[in-house]
Symmetry: C2
Subunit: 170 residues, 2 copies
């Protein structure tokens, strides 16, 4: 299946390091270049998505294991999950027809990673050697086995992503 070939790049980093901001910049830059981007956001403590009192919320509260909200331009699916799916499972179950997936919130995973690292916070790095780190993005250069980028350099990071994972399309 073509679906199984969608590359996954994971944006990792300590809490409040700026992961979501970097994901936003990369999504915008890759989209501007014509790629279709999906994102996966993991939250081990659950998430808020539905509004109390809305019809979909009422369906789900009544016991529906899955609820789809459909409209002419947008679809949403909310469903129970039997487990905490890994990125491959989520890709294969939920994502199709995109060029690349950017994942946020999975600290440990085998996929290529960009670590957001703010040197000013004086904390430890998250990724050690052998964890498939392809780049560090941060506020000031640090020595590393991986390439370093300023975290505002969405163009440079996107060049790297395109070269590594999207070059046949780029």
């Amino acid at each position: 299946m073509i679906v199984a070939m969608i590359p996954i790049v994971s944006i990792v980093g300590m809490s409040n390091s700026g992961k979501t901001t970097l994901v936003e910049k990369l999504v915008a830059e890759l989209t501007r270049r014509g790629f279709r981007v999906a994102t996966i956001k993991h939250n081990r403590h659950g998430f808020e998505i539905d509004h109390e009192g809305k019809d979909s919320w009422r369906h789900k509260q009544a016991g529906a294991v899955a609820t789809v909200l459909a409209s002419p331009g947008r679809i949403a699916l909310i469903e129970d999950a039997a487990k905490d799916y890994d990125l491959i499972e989520i890709r294969d179950l939920y994502i199709r027809n995109v060029d690349i997936i950017l994942a946020e919130g999975y600290k440990k995973n085998p996929h290529p990673k960009i670590e957001v690292f703010r040197a000013e916070l004086m904390r430890e790095r998250l990724c050690g050697p052998g964890e498939n780190l392809i780049a560090l993005a941060g506020d000031r250069p640090v020595s590393s086995e991986a390439l370093w980028f300023d975290w505002n350099d969405a163009a440079g990071l996107s060049d790297l992503i395109v070269e590594r994972f999207l070059s046949k399309k780029g």
Copy 2:
């Protein structure tokens, strides 16, 4: 595919007739009987699902064509839709591992229907002959080619649904 066999029953009716309330009751009753129920809610004017400022909202705003929110017990997918999918397309693209689908908000569709009809509102019926109406649910009995149920009679309506669509499992 097994997925293609999930039966769809549509709950129809004029606006504010009480469709969502009936869906809630049927979901609860069928779930109590051990069935796995999915719901599809259609809104041709779009829907609110995400919260401004939340990470998933930021991903989507940045241009992601699809965003998955994952947690150990629950998954949500929000994605762009190329068109206004019909119920069969939604079933085949988004729903699996359930026994039955209850749909709300699709006035015209070829699937078996339960019409919610409040006689006290003095309005027209929605479903005419030949529209696959299996039951009317309302505030007082009306003559009809279909079976009539009090709209609080979730047990009776569920008996009908089970008999017609879930009898091999019921």
